[in-house]
């Protein structure tokens, strides 16, 4: 029998399948080359890049919780210059679209990083992080106020000709309000959800486990919340959506597509199984074969309510 058509496109970025690797969980790609075929996945998203290198938060930065993990890495990254010089050349030799995730400490920095990335042939698109819960600037400040989000997105839009994805935070009263604000400001696609703010406490020491006190919750524990938000946003805006949140298997990924996602991002799963992204793409394809579905695109938003 003919293999099903797994290809999808997000704002003009053509992908061989809907599986992308989430920012901050896949390094700069090379870290995983020993464990999977980088040319078997849909797209790679880099660690969040800033204008200057960023140290990140003190340790402990991570802790496991029931069915998930909390992290407060604090956007540690090599900075845009080192990314272009040291990391991008490797990725340019991999036949898979690379999406650069970026953030700024100030509004202006968002624009500056976007314009630095604009001329690079090796970058297929950009994902703007307005949703990191672990740093004061450059994340959640812009991601929880629709006016601030609109300002960031329109500034980035003016500084790039590349497809623009905006990554949304779940730590808001109404994610639809944020999604609409970003759509109005010129986003070409939306990815959601980033981590949920959480906390872990060491009872014996009577202290928070993380040095940052709070962190972002990810992993299978957050999947129901993510599915609900993707479904809500998909009903409300017409932009393509990338579903993120606790995807561990091909079935999980397909559930997000039914809820309205065109593609998905695999994050925490890559930590415990470095070949997760490739395995999930294969499991999705197997499901389509078993159910005699010709194209994965026919599942997008196919949820019957």
């Amino acid at each position: 029998m003919q293999r099903p058509d797994m290809s999808v496109a997000i704002a003009g970025i053509e992908m061989r399948n809907p599986v992308m690797t989430a920012s901050g969980t896949f390094g700069y790609g090379a870290e995983f080359a020993d464990y999977l075929d980088l040319e078997s996945i849909g797209a790679m998203i880099t660690k969040g890049l800033s204008l200057k290198p960023k140290a990140g938060n003190p340790t402990p930065r991570i802790v496991e919780t029931s069915g998930g993990m909390l992290n407060a890495i604090g956007l540690q990254n090599v900075g845009i210059d080192a990314f272009i010089e040291q990391k991008l050349p490797y990725l340019e030799n991999v036949n898979t679209p690379v999406i650069a995730n970026l953030y700024g400490n100030t509004l202006e920095e968002y624009g500056e990083v976007a314009s630095r990335l604009d001329g690079l042939a090796g970058v297929a698109g950009i994902e703007v992080n307005i949703s990191c819960p672990n740093v004061k600037q450059g994340g959640i400040v812009f991601g929880t106020d629709p006016c601030a989000a609109q300002e960031v997105v329109s500034l980035v839009k003016r500084n790039t000709s590349k497809p623009l994805i905006v990554k949304l935070s779940p730590n808001v009263t109404d994610v639809v309000v944020m999604a609409k604000a970003c759509a109005d400001a010129g986003a070409d696609a939306l990815s959601l959800i980033n981590t949920l703010t959480g906390m872990a406490i060491d009872l014996e020491r009577r202290r928070p486990v993380l040095a940052n006190v709070t962190g972002g919750l990810s992993g299978p524990a957050i999947k129901p919340v993510a599915l609900r938000m993707v479904w809500q946003v998909a009903k409300a805006v017409s932009l393509p959506i990338i579903g993120i949140g606790g995807i561990m298997t091909g079935r999980d990924a397909l559930e997000f597509m039914l809820a309205g996602a065109t593609a998905v991002q695999v994050g925490t799963a890559s930590f415990l199984d470095p070949s997760a992204a490739q395995r999930i793409a294969r499991e999705m394809e197997d499901y389509l074969v078993e159910h005699d579905i010709a194209s994965v695109r026919s599942l997008i938003g196919a949820l019957e309510v």
Binding site: Y35, A55, G56, N71, I73, P274
Partner: protein, 269 residues
């Protein structure tokens, strides 16, 4: 590499401490002492993450049953501290676990002819056994200084002695060896021409690193840290490099840049 390993044995050495032997592919035979593995105890999402363990031993044996060539094995030493290690301690011969190995940077064995000084405590003895085995096979002179709170923390001393390693023991309560810190027993033995390899609790490594610096003896430390991925992606396991400042950050990944570091590479409290 990522592979399934079969548990060959899983034995409690002293209260709460276990030694587990697993099958391994041929590639592991060329691993280096100081490298580690990441183990997923089951397919469930709780516990979610892998756990890192230093390689205690790697070798090969000829199974007794017919039709089989030499089988490579690897061993870990672990203490039951939480949910993951509790589940691990319940595994039996024939159970399967998922491993990533070998990971990280191992020990630099140094030039021949020096006296090699190994310092460890508790499960920190794990990478030192593999190291001692390697050093003894090269005909080096090796001394081990083992420390712990009490005699239960002093593991596998007989195995070290069987390799021909001279052993010194100190415990906080004096239940085995001298009473006091292992660093007190160590200090008089440090002299030019020795090289330290240390693994254990951070306060112990801190003291050893300072002592090494004072006596001008080269010292490598094997660090332990919380980590999610083991391959340099999550950035959860970082430590401050010696010249780290807020303005010029220098974080080192324990998983990728380590777990073995020259003691001068790191910032000590």
């Amino acid at each position: 590499m990522q592979f399934k390993a079969m548990v060959l044995s899983n034995v409690e050495l002293s209260p709460g401490y276990f030694r587990m032997r697993m099958t391994a592919p041929q590639e592991l035979a060329s691993s280096a002492p100081g490298q580690f593995l990441m183990l997923k105890v089951n397919d469930a999402i709780d516990p979610l993450l892998r756990r890192p363990f230093g390689l205690f031993d790697v070798g090969s044996f000829l199974p007794e049953y017919a039709g089989c060539g030499a089988q490579v094995y690897c061993e870990i030493l672990y203490k039951v501290v939480g949910k993951g290690t509790k589940l691990l301690s319940a595994l039996h011969h024939g159970d399967l676990v998922d491993l990533l190995a070998p990971l990280g940077k191992g020990f630099d064995l140094g030039p021949a002819g020096e006296e090699k000084v190994l310092v460890g405590g508790g499960v920190g003895l794990a990478p030192l056994y593999y190291l001692a085995k390697e050093l003894k096979s090269r005909g080096e002179k090796v001394r081990l200084f083992a420390g712990g709170r009490n005699r239960d923390d002093i593991l596998c001393i007989t195995e070290f002695e069987r390799l021909g390693v001279e052993t010194y023991v100190a415990t906080d309560d004096g239940t085995l060896g001298e009473r006091g810190f292992v660093t007190q027993v160590l200090e008089p033995h440090l002299a030019p021409g020795t090289r330290i390899f240390a693994c254990g609790p951070t306060p112990m490594l801190n003291a050893v690193a300072k002592m090494a610096q004072k006596s001008g003896v080269p010292c490598q430390v094997s660090m332990e840290a919380y980590m999610a991925c083991g391959v340099g992606a999550c950035l959860g396991c970082v430590m401050k490099g010696a010249n780290h400042t807020e303005e010029t950050p220098d974080y080192r990944c324990v998983c990728k840049d380590g777990p073995v570091f020259d003691s001068f590479e790191l910032q000590w409290s």
